[in-house]
């Protein structure tokens, strides 16, 4: 059975070009870039190229790019760096819809005496910028807000937020793991201090991340050891992945247009058709400010895990914000923060596309989803009741 992969916010397939670029650095060119001999040194040259490729995608300077092991490491490093630089400041601002890499770290920092403000979002998942402004204090060490939300795709106005914090001398970090490669990101046009990227969200392999640190921004490393990354991140370079990451960023730049036209068109088609064909369904998250590849749809009266497993039978891969998929008792923190009723959140499915999806795949999903939802609704004790009482549509 062929796989229809609509779970690209979870991870993406490694591009052929990326894999091809990487393979020689496993087999032949396994040298250590720090070595004195040219066998290692030639790898160092390739790392420089990769750093330039990443910088080009971001409109950044190569020296502003630090290679890490993942988005989580980049997020952790950014927050901890800010706290180390400002030992007197004990306040952090984030939002209620952040990725666990920020959310859980901040929850832990509370136990170490830090004060965390988690900004709320409205029913569309949008931030109130006045609320951000109100919460900025002289005690605030850093503001960290995600650029694009992994579950809903909702985009935060992080460039505007960074401007607000800059005026007050507060550091600004953004988790841009879901945004880079999907929407244009140009660090020349903003004053964001630090930005996190993860390789496997943009067709590079897992296990490679980037922390962008603006030139002039005070920084304290998280991993301490060798002189790699100019002492800003110890540990022998993950050379094949760094080289793959460079290639992935170059491709992302080339595909940016396609991402925002073709991928967006397929996403919109999928969303429009599912809403039209399946009664009592709705989109979660603001549709105007959204990543081009993501749609989060709730199907009322059915449960997400059951939906996913029936999709799985057809080879269709997606995600859900339901409680049952996480093993916790509560549905997704993002949907709860938006005030999505539990009854809707339990039946939420996130479809996230990539440039590798085809029209044929989307048509197949459009054809099959109504059958899946109907099959589960026929089993649901709430479905007939809601129909006879004329609830919803």
């Amino acid at each position: 059975m062929s796989v229809i992969y609509l779970d690209n916010n979870a991870t993406t397939q490694v591009s052929e070009e990326v894999l091809d670029a990487m393979l020689p650095y496993f087999r032949e060119f396994y040298g250590n870039p720090s070595s004195m001999h040219s066998f290692g040194g030639q790898v160092g040259q390739k790392i420089r190229t990769a750093r330039e490729q990443v910088a080009t995608l971001l409109g950044a300077m190569p020296e502003e790019i630090i290679f890490t092991s993942c988005g989580t490491e980049s997020d952790n490093t950014a927050i901890r760096s800010a706290l180390t630089i400002h030992p007197d400041k004990k306040h952090i601002i984030t939002s209620r819809v952040e990725h666990p890499a920020i959310h859980v770290l901040c929850a832990q920092l509370v136990t170490q005496g830090y004060r965390i403000t988690e900004l709320s979002v409205d029913k569309n998942g949008l931030l109130d910028m006045d609320n951000l402004e109100k919460n900025l204090t002289p005690d605030t060490a850093i503001v960290s807000l995600m650029w694009g939300n992994n579950e809903t795709g909702v985009i935060f106005p992080v460039e505007k937020a960074a401007q607000m914090t800059r005026e007050r001398g507060i550091l600004f970090h953004t988790d841009a793991v879901q945004s880079v490669g999907k929407i244009p990101v140009n660090m020349k046009n903003n004053v964001i201090d630090m930005l996190s990227i993860s390789g496997h969200k943009l067709h590079a392999p897992k296990g490679i991340g980037i922390l962008y640190v603006r030139r002039g921004t005070k920084y304290s490393p998280f991993l301490i050891g060798g002189h790699q990354e100019k002492g800003r991140r110890g540990g022998t370079e993950n050379t094949p992945s760094i080289i793959g990451m460079g290639m992935a960023c170059e491709l992302a730049g080339k595909n940016m247009q396609k991402e925002n036209t073709e991928v967006k068109r397929l996403r919109d088609k999928l969303e429009k058709e599912l809403l039209a064909r399946i009664p009592q369904s709705r989109v979660n998250g603001d549709t105007a400010n959204r990543l081009p590849n993501t749609t989060n749809i709730s199907f009322e009266y059915v449960e997400g895990e059951a939906i996913l497993l029936l999709m799985n039978e057809l080879g269709i891969c997606a995600s859900s914000g339901s409680a049952c998929t996480s093993g916790s008792l509560q549905p997704s923190h993002v949907l709860r923060a938006m005030g999505v009723p539990f009854t809707m959140a339990h039946g939420s499915i996130r479809f996230s596309l990539s440039i590798y999806n085809t029209e044929k795949e989307i048509d197949f999903v459009i054809e099959k989803m109504p059958e899946i939802i109907e099959r589960l609704r026929e089993m649901s004790p709430f479905w007939n009741a809601s129909q006879s009482s004329g609830a919803g549509n």
Partner: protein, 274 residues
Amino acid sequence: MWEYTDKVKEHFLNPRNVGEIENPDGVAEVGSLACGDALKLTFKLDENKRIKEAKFKTFGCASAIASSSALTEMIKGMTLDEALKVTNQDIAGYLGGLPDEKMHCSVMGKQALEKAIENYRGAPPLEEGAKIICECFGVTDKEIERAVRENNLATVEDVTNYTKAGGGCGSCHDAIAQIIEKVRSEPKTETKPKLTNIQKIRLIEETIEREIRPSLKHDGGDIEIIDIIGNRVIVATRGACSTCKASNITLKHFVEHRLKEFVSPDIEVEEVAK
């Protein structure tokens, strides 16, 4: 992804006995849309008072649907007394086991069965000396007392989550609070009922919050639950505890001791690798 047995998958993909029996002898609805799972069970008896037919409608995950399907298959042909002996463990066993996190799905099946039989037999006579506390849902003081005792509930909200009492008009909240206070001032008994996984996790969290954290904080330390795997509670020490050489002794002699006392004698506490 959950590790479901083939039997669970098979019952999820091809559920038996989906639907509702018209004019059933017994009917019950448990769970709710908000909880994330709900089950409506109906059954009909034959002339020998054995269950001739049982049907279900379930809103929930794969294991909830499979548990419902399994339950309706299992009870067919049973007398009501036989059916009442079916435990949630039996339902899980029929399916070749359920992931720990999904055991509540089998509990839901058991609850629906009990309630449907109760419905057939007529509302059970009130326990001796029991009086209705929550008029909206007809919950008695004895039922609330039992729920508080068996699940170590601390708030009115907990009681509502477990028994529904107080979930309607709210006029009984004071009375529920008094019952909680009364039960919680009772001396602890040694016999502890078997907890579901979720109940156990809640109880561990509550015990740490109430019995353990205040003492640690008093000494400038703290503790955080990292994971709970079966009876192993993995914790991280914080603040003064994290640098204290005696923290291991604290974990074994204080934290573990308290958790054994309040949660289960099988609990073991381990510190996450630093």
